[in-house]
């Protein structure tokens, strides 16, 4: 048995095609100022040929290379996604096949935008139970496939991308780097955000989602800190789901985070990438060395189904 797990390395991938707010005004009655002030997004990346599995693979490949481990070491692949059109083989086995991971436990998980923290929690539990030693935990989305590009209330919000973590069992005697997950949902109000039917588009009741996100979530984020034995003031960074800067600001205010805590706002350049948003933003923070290795970072995802999940991790 191990004391727990830690994130050893991160990696991310975004398509090369940039779509600016200005680009969107060609086909939609919207404008840059409106999108920036309501949502906080300046541009997003949109996939051309890449599938969810392709983007997941590229992100995982980078994380694996940084970790110093090889494909043969990986025994678990978990992919959080709500936008994969192909259901079988699942994304996790597609990634494993592309990376030459021979016989991993491999599954997809869908809790929409909170997916990465759910997947990280699941992998951490598997490692603690002795069912895995080295896991790939990935959030990957191609939301452009399920975006109604003629609906100005949603088309301005979303982007494509992937982020991945290599998560390993900590050696005996060392501290765990993935804190206990706080996870849950508000299913009775889950229908305010929907991806339903054949050839579905994302639909949401924006005001209801905004109200839930800015009022209900801070106590859960605080509880995630408490379970990890960390005071919010001790956090080096906060990486929430990247949906809207005004939601992020609202949660930050209720958490009482000071100016010393780095607040991830990757949505400015990436849009809302659902389950990919937290690992994408964390991977960029790590890449830019903005957070010291070992420093506590609060991850917190929330969204469709009105699911939420978060945990404090030690920065790789």
């Amino acid at each position: 048995m191990t004391a727990g797990s830690r994130i050893v390395a991160m990696g991310h991938y975004q398509p090369s095609r940039v779509v600016t707010n200005e680009d969107l005004t060609r086909n939609l009655d919207t404008n840059d100022e409106w999108i920036r002030s309501r949502v906080g997004i300046a541009e997003r990346r949109v996939a051309d040929g890449e599938s969810v599995a392709d983007m997941a693979t590229y992100a995982a490949e980078k994380a694996l290379a940084t970790s110093g481990l090889s494909a043969a070491d990986i025994d678990l692949v978990v992919v959080a996604t709500c936008s994969s059109i192909d259901r079988c083989p699942n994304v996790a086995t597609r990634v494993a096949s592309k990376l030459g991971i021979a016989a991993p436990a491999a599954y997809d998980l869908n809790t929409a935008c909170s997916g990465f923290s759910y997947a990280l929690g699941s992998a951490d539990h598997a490692i603690k139970a002795g069912a895995s030693r080295h896991a790939l935990v990935i959030g990957a989305e191609k939301l452009s496939d399920i975006t109604d590009w003629s609906d100005r209330t949603t088309a301005v919000l979303f982007g494509d991308g992937a982020g991945a973590a290599v998560v390993s069992a900590v050696p005996d005697g060392e501290q765990a780097g993935v804190g206990p997950v706080l996870w849950g949902s508000a299913p009775e109000r889950g229908d305010v955000l929907r991806i339903e039917g054949w050839h579905p588009y994302i639909k949401q009741d924006g005001q209801s989602v905004f109200r839930w996100a800015t009022t209900a979530l801070a106590p859960f984020a605080l509880e995630a800190c408490k379970r990890a034995g960390i005071e919010p003031s001790e956090l080096a960074a906060f990486v929430p789901h990247q949906a809207n800067t005004r939601i992020i600001d609202g949660i930050v205010k209720r958490l009482g985070l000071g100016p010393d805590v780095i607040i991830a706002k990757d949505l400015v350049e990436s849009g809302n990438t659902s389950a990919a948003s937290v690992p994408l933003a964390l991977s960029k923070l790590v890449e830019r060395r903005e957070v010291p290795s070992g420093a506590p970072v609060l991850l917190f995802g929330f969204g469709g189904g009105l699911t939420y999940a978060g945990q404090v991790v030690r920065c790789p």
Partner: protein, 80 residues
């Protein structure tokens, strides 16, 4: 029981804090969106703050009916 004037001035304080609205501009006949430039998300913040301040419940499906300051005052007066 708060009077309509008291509720209006309470809303003016909230509007100033949440959306930077000049309290002198707040009157019962003013539309939140058209006259006071309160966007849909700020409106949610106003509603949440009003719930706390006046001890009322303003459900999501009620928010869209609150077009003017007077609508909000009437709702709060009837429900608090």
């Amino acid at each position: 029981m708060a009077t309509r004037e008291e509720i209006t001035s309470g809303l003016a304080e909230i509007l100033e804090e949440v959306a930077g609205v000049n309290p002198d501009d707040v009157a019962e006949g003013k539309s939140f969106t058209d006259d006071l430039d309160v966007d849909s998300l700020s409106m949610v913040e106003v509603v949440v703050a009003a719930e706390e301040k006046f001890g009322v419940k303003i459900p999501d499906n009620e928010v869209q009916n609150l077009k003017t300051v007077g609508d909000a005052v009437t709702y709060i007066e009837a429900n608090h």
